[in-house]
Amino acid sequence: MGIPVHELAHARAGDKGDTSNIGVFGYDDDSYQILKKELTAARVENELEEIIEGSVTRYDLPQLNGFNFVLEGALAGGVTTSVRVDTHGKSLSYALLDIVVDVEK
């Protein structure tokens, strides 16, 4: 069964230069375990390939049921010079929450 990450977790995006980071936090332990397995750095890189140019790194923070995804080359050159509408990439957290992951019944 596939469900959007939005049903399992909450997230916030931040920016520095041309790099975006997205903190993602499972609503409970079970959600965290599903995301740990399904929401890999490679999966995020693949899902957001039209938006980001660089690579994705995932840092795990199990005590927070959380992950920090660092997305390089995600902001079309950076907040200050990008001609995108959302120069900071603040809305990118919801692109990540839109990813559909497999959940075993």
């Binding site: 230069g17 903190g23 936090f25 923070l61 927070l64 920090n68 050159g77 200050t80 010079t81 692109a95």
Partner: protein, 449 residues
């Protein structure tokens, strides 16, 4: 020395709301009220204003913020620390002296902390920017270059009994860490204080974006609800000498402080959680945990720190041409297709013109303006807004982008309405490093008698 040091946040960015700071100044019995008002590009913009008028160059809302909180802060013995000095801390200090005088406040000591401006030290910058380009290529179009200072200038001002301290570029967490180091006597060079310093930086990081830890930038209806968002309060932290940290807010304010609001904020703009670089120490948030110890009260634990880096981060602001933009809306049957035809038409007309445009973009807002193609296969919205934008070397050329959108009224697809157009000078920012021995802070204190 205060055992339970109380620090509140008065602003999390230059344009932040003013009422929450007034409420904290009036009701929270704070030791310190800290205003963080500088984003990456703010100083470059302020430097431009200063070039036009040397008495400006500080944050535009300085006067309104000070008028709102100064009387209560004086009455309640609350010291104010802020980076509202931006490109001109000295002028900001003078302005605060004038405001205090106008308000009839006497016996106030106001300090400015300058020294972050390092544009004259390009020779000492690292050869490469963070993104690997040559630093010197930005020298010609450079508007400003500022190093991120640490706590030391603020500590000097506190030691000289300043009541209000106004800095230029200081690392955001340092604004909040300085009063902890000063009041609790923590030693930044002593490994035995590493946990306290780490906890202090974690606390500073949670506070620095103001409402973002009290339920601002958090609400998602039916998933993460926030009570009374319209009266969102700003955070207060209680910090003990041992580095115990509790985040809270005024009970009569809107918003909430929960494990979830704190989790989202602790990783905000952090890359490697085990190495959060500041000029004062390298904080390690990788084992930070939170405990709800009361309604809207969250205790923070588990942070630590390594000694400060030998280099300081420098942001170079440079002129990067002019953004030109035009927008127009379409609604009803076939709206997206008409918008797309309009976008293609403008693009072709602009390409046929005889001037270069960088990064020309055609966005259909409501369809693909935020996440490129993601979600494009969903059904067409009832209304969309076309946006065409690009960068040019001159504002005259940049204005032509908006004009081409405007001519869609009589030269484009059917039913377009609500054209807006604008041009805006683009200030780019790149970051590099400088050896900290080449950067010196300069504290100046002035008093209202």
């Amino acid at each position: 020395m205060t055992d339970h040091l109380t620090i509140g946040t008065g602003a999390g960015f230059a344009g932040d709301r003013i009422d929450p700071a007034t409420a904290l100044a009036d009701q929270a019995d704070l030791d310190y009220l800290v205003f963080e008002c500088l984003a990456e590009r703010t100083i470059a913009n302020a430097q431009r204003r200063k070039m036009d008028d040397p008495s400006t160059g500080y944050t535009p809302l300085l006067s309104r913020r000070m008028e709102a909180v100064l009387p209560s802060c004086v009455e309640n013995n609350t010291r104010i620390i802020t980076n509202m000095g931006a490109a001109n801390p000295e002028a900001a200090r003078k302005r605060v002296i004038d405001i205090a005088t106008e308000l009839g406040i006497s016996d106030l000591s106001v300090a400015s902390v300058a020294g972050s401006a390092v544009r004259d030290r390009f020779d000492h910058f690292e050869e490469q920017t963070f993104s690997g380009e040559s630093t010197t290529q930005y020298q010609e179009n450079c508007v400003s270059a500022n190093a991120y200072l640490g706590v030391q200038g603020i500590l000097d001002a506190l030691n000289d009994d300043a009541d209000v301290i106004i800095t230029g570029r200081v690392a955001d967490p340092s604004l909040f860490l300085a009063p902890m180091v000063y009041e609790h006597g923590w030693d930044l060079t002593n490994p035995t204080d590493a946990d306290q310093i780490g906890q202090g930086i974690a606390c500073a990081h949670l506070l620095e974006c103001a409402g973002q830890v009290t339920g601002g930038y958090f609400a998602d209806p039916d998933y993460k609800d926030v009570p009374n968002l319209e009266t969102l309060g700003f955070p207060i932290a209680e910090v003990t000498v041992d580095g115990d940290v509790t985040i809270m807010k005024l009970p009569n304010s809107g918003g909430k402080v929960t494990l979830r609001t704190c989790k989202e904020q602790i990783l905000y703009e952090v890359h490697d959680p085990s190495a959060y670089l500041t000029p004062d120490a390298i904080a390690d948030f990788s084992n930070v945990s939170f405990e709800q110890v009361g309604t809207d009260q969250v205790q923070v634990s588990g942070a630590t720190a390594d000694p400060k880096p030998e280099t300081l981060k420098v942001n170079i602001g440079y002129e990067d041409g002019v953004l030109g933009e035009g927008q127009i809306s379409y609604a009803g049957p076939n709206a997206e297709q008409r918008a797309r035809l309009a976008g293609d038409t403008v693009r072709k007309r602009l390409v046929a013109r005889d001037f270069p445009i960088d990064d020309l973009r055609v966005d259909i807002m409501g369809v693909d303006s935020l996440h490129e193609g993601r979600g494009r296969d969903q059904s067409s919205p009832y209304e969309v807004r076309l946006r065409v934008a690009g960068k040019c070397e001159t504002s005259t050329n940049a204005a032509e982008i908006g004009r081409e959108v405007q001519t869609l009224y009589t030269n484009g697809p059917a039913g377009g309405g609500g054209v807006t157009m604008r041009t805006k000078p683009v200030l780019g920012i790149v970051s590099t490093l400088i050896d900290r021995n080449h950067v010196h802070h300069d504290v100046c204190i002035e008093e209202v008698k």
